[in-house]
């Protein structure tokens, strides 16, 4: 199951009426949206959407029937058990330390106007506030940082300083190599927001 499908299933399961509808689906040989909706006391459209989502995920089977009126679908449960399994491996940015990304030389961008808040212990940055947009559409975006990310930004070269590579900054900040993925992640985000530059 990919992440989007899992999210869709999760959304279905989180509905208040999901348990009641699943009970009906497990009890009945087949059931229409109208029958199920009237039984659980929810709108037919809501029931229809729910059943269609489950059909799209391959959990239900459906059959079009004609009973002297407009055709409609009857739904039947295809599975006896539901399980969500997501492979998180593709999300990981783990790469060897010698990776070219760590050689990327960076520093804070000039006049960006971002606000860096230091932690209570004052030895790392706890969050960065960035303003995006113009005029009335100007919005504040606050990014809370993990401690390794905060230590990394604490040692980030100033706008007029010589840029340093990510690995050099990590060394200065005494950050462990296991934190490389999250460091690379925050660098990418801050480059995207224009807080960090790579001259």
């Amino acid at each position: 199951m990919d992440f989007k499908e899992a999210a869709k299933l999760g959304s279905c399961l989180s509905k208040d009426y999901a348990e009641d509808l699943f009970r009906l689906l497990a009890t009945y040989e087949s059931i229409s949206a109208s029958e199920a909706g009237s039984r659980v006391n929810i709108h037919i459209k809501t029931t229809q959407d729910f059943l269609e989502d489950l059909y799209g995920l391959g959990i239900l089977d459906r059959e079009e029937v004609y009973e002297g009126k407009r055709p409609y679908f009857r739904y039947r449960l295809k599975v006896k058990q539901l399980s969500i399994e997501i492979n998180l491996e593709p999300f990981s940015q783990n790469e060897p330390v010698t990776d070219t990304r760590l050689k990327l030389k960076i520093r804070e961008k000039k006049n960006i106007g971002a606000r860096f808040t230091t932690s209570r212990s004052n030895d790392y940055i706890s969050n960065v506030v960035i303003w995006t947009g113009e005029g009335r559409n100007r919005t504040e975006r606050k990014i809370n940082l993990s401690m390794p990310q905060g230590k990394f930004l604490f040692h980030l070269p100033f706008p007029t300083a010589e840029p340093l590579s990510i690995s050099e900054i990590m060394k200065n900040a005494e950050i462990d190599e296991v934190n490389i993925p999250e460091i690379v992640d925050i660098v990418n985000v801050l480059i995207e927001f224009g807080v960090i530059e790579s001259p």
Binding site: E108, K110, N111, R115, F116, T118, S121, N122, D123, I125, L153, F154, H155, L156, P157, F158, P159, T160, A161, N172
Partner: protein
């Protein structure tokens, strides 16, 4: 030795305001009520001012404020005994002679401290020293603190160093749980610090030494725009950190007087 100043001149006269107010009120009383009343009111102001100076001495432990307090007290008393109807009746002539002697002695003491720069708040000197040999470079300012390095010192050395900087008005220490933060105070800014130290610290430059040896520097926008030109911000932070690391090294070696020599060597004016 001559150093071209990189800071803008400060023409504020905050330090003289209490004296100006006091003398002005005395002059008005002299004109509208009488000579004796005018002089006695100035005398009263000086005695009150002596209490204020004593309070500053208790806060800073700077000797010049004690000298100022003593001088103001004797000057106030001297004014009160000047007329044929003195404020303190029945005062003996021996006591008056002693008062005159103490007034002259305290004047000499106060002048000595003023002219040897013991009475000067040295924030300006700190920023001048930090800006030496720095190139101009625009758009470098950031609000982030700068990690200035790691050195070795003990907690008692750091506390002693803090006490030394406070007594000599180099930078005012703020004691926090895990570190001591030093805020340099310039002349004419001192009342801001004296009346409300916590408020004063906000938006000011500071140098922090934590108890595991990390040194961090933060230069505020207010202090940065106090320079005539836009200086390279990272170099400025670096230099300020190095300067205080050098200061604590002098202190640890028992050569703390070198700190004052280095600051006084700039030869900045006594009142700014």
């Amino acid at each position: 030795m001559y150093y071209p100043s990189k800071l803008k001149r400060d023409f504020r006269i905050t330090g003289f305001i209490p004296a100006i107010i006091c003398i002005s009120i005395g002059a008005l009383i002299w004109i509208f009520i009488g000579q004796r009343e005018g002089v006695y009111s100035v005398s009263g102001f000086f005695i009150l001012y002596a209490a204020f100076s004593l309070w500053i001495f208790i806060r800073t432990r700077n000797q010049s404020y004690l000298a100022a307090s003593v001088w103001q007290l004797f000057f106030g008393l001297w004014l009160a005994t000047r007329f044929s109807y003195p404020l303190i009746p029945g005062i003996k002539s021996e006591l008056l002679a002693l008062l005159y002697f103490l007034l002259i002695a305290s004047t000499i003491w106060l002048f000595y401290l003023v002219f040897t720069r013991r009475a000067k708040w040295k924030g300006r000197e700190v920023f001048e020293l930090a800006s030496m040999s720095i190139e101009t470079q625009s758009d470098g300012f950031t609000e982030r603190p700068h990690p200035a390095g790691k050195i070795v010192y003990s907690g008692s050395e750091l506390k002693g160093f803090a006490e030394f900087l406070r007594k000599n008005l180099v930078a005012m220490p703020y004691f926090e749980v895990n570190r001591i933060v030093f805020v340099p105070v310039k002349m004419e800014d001192e009342f801001g610090y004296i009346f409300s130290p916590e408020k004063f610290k906000q938006n000011r430059s500071w140098i922090a030494f934590d108890f595991i040896g990390n040194v961090t520097v933060n230069i505020s926008k207010k202090d940065y725009i106090g320079y005539k030109e836009e200086l390279s911000f990272d170099q400025l932070c670096e230099n300020l950190g190095k300067l205080f690391i050098e200061f604590i090294d002098y202190y640890r070696k028992g050569e703390a007087e070198r700190i004052l020599y280095k600051l006084n060597e700039l030869g900045l004016g006594l009142t700014y």
